[in-house]
C-alpha cells in the first residue's frame, strides 16, 4: 500500500484500570479511502479512533498521520486537521447551529465572511434549512443534529475524518438517508475516513475497506467488503458477517457488473411465426416486443392468436424493470416476484438490454 494517510504501527493502549483496550495494532489507512472499523462492543474501536486524534495517548507504538508522528505534533493543531464526529454528536448547546458549524474555522482565525460562506455551503450540502441556522441544538430533530455534527466536522475541510458510530443514535430510516447522503458526499470530497460501527451492514455499505476487530482491537481481517463476504478469513469473521453473506454480496454488486442474457425478444414488425420460433428457441412462453430498440412490453401465445404481425397484438407492460445501476439484490427481488422468474433489464429511455435469471445471477457472482 503506497503512502498511507494514517498508519498505526504496533500500537498498544493499556488503561490504568484494566487489560489492554488495544493490543499491538498495526493498520494502514490509504489516502482517500474510507476504512470502517467494525467489531463487537468493547473490542477497542473507540479507543483506536481516539488514539488517532490523541484524545488517548498510546502506551507503546507509533501513529503517523500524513507521514508525521502525531506524538511530535501539537495535539490542538493535529485535532484541527482531523474532523471528529461522535455518536452523541456533542453539539455545543449554547451555540446556534451556525456557530456550531463555524466553530473550527473561527478557532483557526478565518475572516467572518469566509466562515459565513462556508456555513452556507455546508448547510446546503446537508440540506439544513436556512431558518435552522439560528436555532439552538435542543430545537433540532435527531437527524438534523446528526447532519450538523457531520457538517461541523467538515467545516475546515480537514483531509481526515474520524467518525465514531455517527449514525448510531437515529432511527433506521433516517440512518439510511444519512448514509446515502454521506456516501454521495464522500465521493465528491476525497477524504480519508475512519468510520466506526458495530453494524456489519453499515460497514459493508460505507467501506472501501473493512477492518474486522476482535477484543483488544485485534484485526481478524482487513479487506474490501466484497472480499470479506466472499472469503471470510476465519470463523470469527464468518460469524460476525453472519448469515445472508450471499444476499449481502448481492447488495454490493450492480446489474451492470454482470452479463445479461439476450432473452426472448422480437421486433414489432416480426411475424407471429417468428415470435413463436423465438419462444421455442429461448424456452419461454412469451417474448419481449421492441420498437426501434425501445421496449414496448411482452406478448404470449394467446395474445398472438388471430393477428398477423407482433405489432398488431396488444403488448402488455412488464410489472417491473431493473437498470444497470440497480443492485443485484434488487434484481433478485424482481426475479422472484415476477411471474416468469425473470428480471428485464433496460437502460435509459426504456431501451431493452436483456434479461436476468437466477442462473445468470449466480453465474455472475461466481465469476
Amino acid at each position: 500500500m503506497s503512502d498511507p494517510m494514517i498508519s498505526l504501527d504496533g500500537v498498544t493502549k493499556r488503561f490504568a484500570s484494566g487489560s489492554n483496550a488495544v493490543e499491538d495494532l498495526s493498520l494502514d489507512v490509504p489516502k482517500g479511502e474510507t476504512v470502517v472499523l467494525v467489531g463487537p462492543s468493547g473490542c477497542g474501536k473507540t479507543t483506536t479512533m481516539k488514539l488517532i486524534n490523541r484524545l488517548v495517548e498510546p502506551t507503546t507504538g507509533t501513529i503517523t498521520v500524513n507521514g508525521v508522528d502525531i506524538l511530535r505534533q501539537d495535539p490542538v493543531e493535529l485535532r484541527r486537521s482531523i474532523g471528529y464526529v461522535i455518536q452523541s454528536i456533542g453539539l455545543m448547546p449554547h451555540r446556534t447551529v451556525e456557530q456550531n458549524i463555524g466553530m473550527v474555522p473561527r478557532l483557526m482565525g478565518w475572516p467572518g465572511s469566509k466562515i459565513a460562506d462556508r456555513v452556507r455551503e455546508l448547510s446546503e450540502m446537508f440540506e439544513l434549512d436556512a431558518t435552522l441556522l439560528k436555532r439552538y441544538p435542543s430545537e433540532l430533530s435527531g437527524g438534523q443534529r446528526q447532519r450538523v455534527g457531520v457538517a461541523r466536522a467538515l467545516a475546515a475541510d480537514p483531509p481526515v475524518m474520524l467518525m465514531d458510530e455517527p449514525f448510531g443514535a437515529v432511527d433506521p430510516i433516517v440512518r439510511e438517508r444519512l448514509q446515502d447522503q454521506f456516501l454521495a458526499l464522500k465521493a465528491e470530497l476525497a477524504k480519508t475516513i475512519v468510520f466506526v460501527t458495530h453494524d456489519i451492514d453499515e460497514a459493508i455499505k460505507m467501506a472501501d475497506r473493512i477492518a474486522i476487530l476482535n477484543t483488544g482491537a485485534r484485526v481478524e481481517q482487513y479487506a474490501p467488503p466484497l472480499e470479506i463476504l466472499r472469503d471470510p478469513a476465519n470463523d470469527f469473521v464468518r460469524d460476525f458477517v453472519g448469515a445472508e453473506r450471499g444476499l449481502k454480496r448481492l447488495a454490493l454488486s450492480i446489474v451492470g457488473d454482470i452479463d445479461v442474457e439476450k432473452g426472448p425478444v422480437v421486433s414489432r414488425t416480426a411475424s407471429v411465426a417468428e415470435a413463436e420460433a423465438e419462444m421455442d428457441r429461448s424456452g419461454f412462453d412469451w417474448v419481449s416486443v421492441v420498437t426501434d430498440g425501445e421496449l414496448a412490453g411482452w406478448v404470449d401465445r394467446d395474445a398472438l392468436k388471430g393477428v398477423s404481425t407482433v405489432g398488431d397484438a396488444k403488448a402488455r407492460p412488464f410489472s417491473a424493470y431493473v437498470t444497470a445501476e440497480d443492485s443485484l439484490r434488487q434484481a433478485l427481488d424482481s426475479i422472484v416476484t415476477s411471474r416468469t422468474n425473470v428480471a428485464v433489464v433496460v437502460s435509459e429511455g426504456q431501451r431493452y438490454r436483456g434479461i436476468l435469471t437466477l442462473e445468470g445471477l449466480s453465474k455472475g457472482l461466481s465469476s
Binding site: 485535532r79 471528529y84 461541523r152
Partner: protein
C-alpha cells in the same frame, strides 16, 4: 392612628432610608463580588484536581458554621468597627455556597460536549472559557442568587458593628422597642432580597438564551 407603624416617620426620612438601603446593597454586592473572585479559582482547582475539593469545602464549611455574631466579636479587636470587618464575615459566608455551586455546575457540563470540544481542537483554556463556563453559567448564577439573598439577610447583623445598612433600623427597634423601626428595617431587607432575587433570575435568562429556547420547546 395606631402607632405600630408610623408612615409619617417614613415620609420624613426618605433620604436617610434611601441612603441606608443603598449602603445595604453596596455591602451585599461587594461581599458577593469578592466572594466570587475567591470562589472561582478555588472551584476550578477543586474541579480539576479532585482531591482538593474535600479540604476546600471543609474549610469553607467550618467558616459557614461560625455564628456571625461570634465572628464579628472576634474580628473587631483586630480590624475595628469597619467595612473590612463586615466584609470579612460576609465574604466568608458566601464561599461555601458559591464554590459548591460552581463545582457542581462545571461537573454537570455533558462529557460528550467536552469531548467533542477537545476533539475539534479547542485548547484547554478555550474548552474552559468557551464551553464549560458558559454552560455552567445558569447553575453558577443560581448560586450567586442564593449567596446574594443570604448576604442581604446577614448585613442586617453587621449593624451591630456599625455597618448595617437597613439593619440599623432593626437595631434601633431592638433598643428603643419602637415597632416602626423594626418593621421598617425588616421590610426593607425583604424588599431588597426579593428584588435582587427577581433581578438575578432575569439576568440568568438573558445570558442563557439557549436554555430559554429549550424550555420554550418543551413547554
Amino acid at each position: 392612628m395606631n402607632d405600630l407603624f408610623r408612615w409619617d416617620y417614613v415620609f420624613d426620612h426618605l433620604d436617610e432610608i434611601q441612603a441606608s438601603t443603598l449602603e445595604h446593597l453596596k455591602l451585599t454586592l461587594l461581599a458577593v463580588g469578592v466572594g466570587l473572585l475567591i470562589s472561582f479559582p478555588l472551584a476550578l482547582l477543586a474541579h480539576r484536581v479532585r482531591w482538593t475539593y474535600g479540604p476546600i469545602t471543609w474549610v469553607t464549611g467550618v467558616m459557614f458554621t461560625i455564628p456571625s455574631l461570634a465572628l464579628f466579636a472576634f474580628l473587631v479587636p483586630f480590624t475595628g468597627l469597619t467595612v473590612l470587618t463586615a466584609e470579612i464575615g460576609l465574604v466568608s459566608y458566601t464561599l461555601l455556597i458559591l464554590i459548591r455551586n460552581i463545582v457542581s455546575a462545571l461537573d454537570a457540563v455533558p462529557a460528550d460536549v467536552r469531548e467533542s470540544a477537545v476533539g475539534m481542537g479547542l485548547s484547554p483554556g478555550q474548552v474552559m472559557w468557551r464551553v464549560q463556563v458558559p454552560l455552567a453559567l445558569p447553575v453558577i448564577l443560581g448560586g450567586v442568587r442564593i449567596a446574594t439573598v443570604t448576604t442581604i439577610g446577614l448585613v442586617t447583623v453587621t449593624a451591630v458593628i456599625g455597618q448595617g445598612g437597613v439593619g440599623t433600623y432593626i437595631l434601633s427597634g431592638l433598643r428603643s422597642l419602637v415597632p416602626t423601626f423594626t418593621i421598617l428595617g425588616a421590610a426593607l431587607a425583604i424588599i431588597l432580597a426579593v428584588t435582587m432575587d427577581r433581578l438575578l433570575v432575569l439576568v440568568e435568562k438573558l445570558v442563557t438564551p439557549w436554555a430559554r429556547s429549550r424550555s420554550a420547546r418543551t413547554a
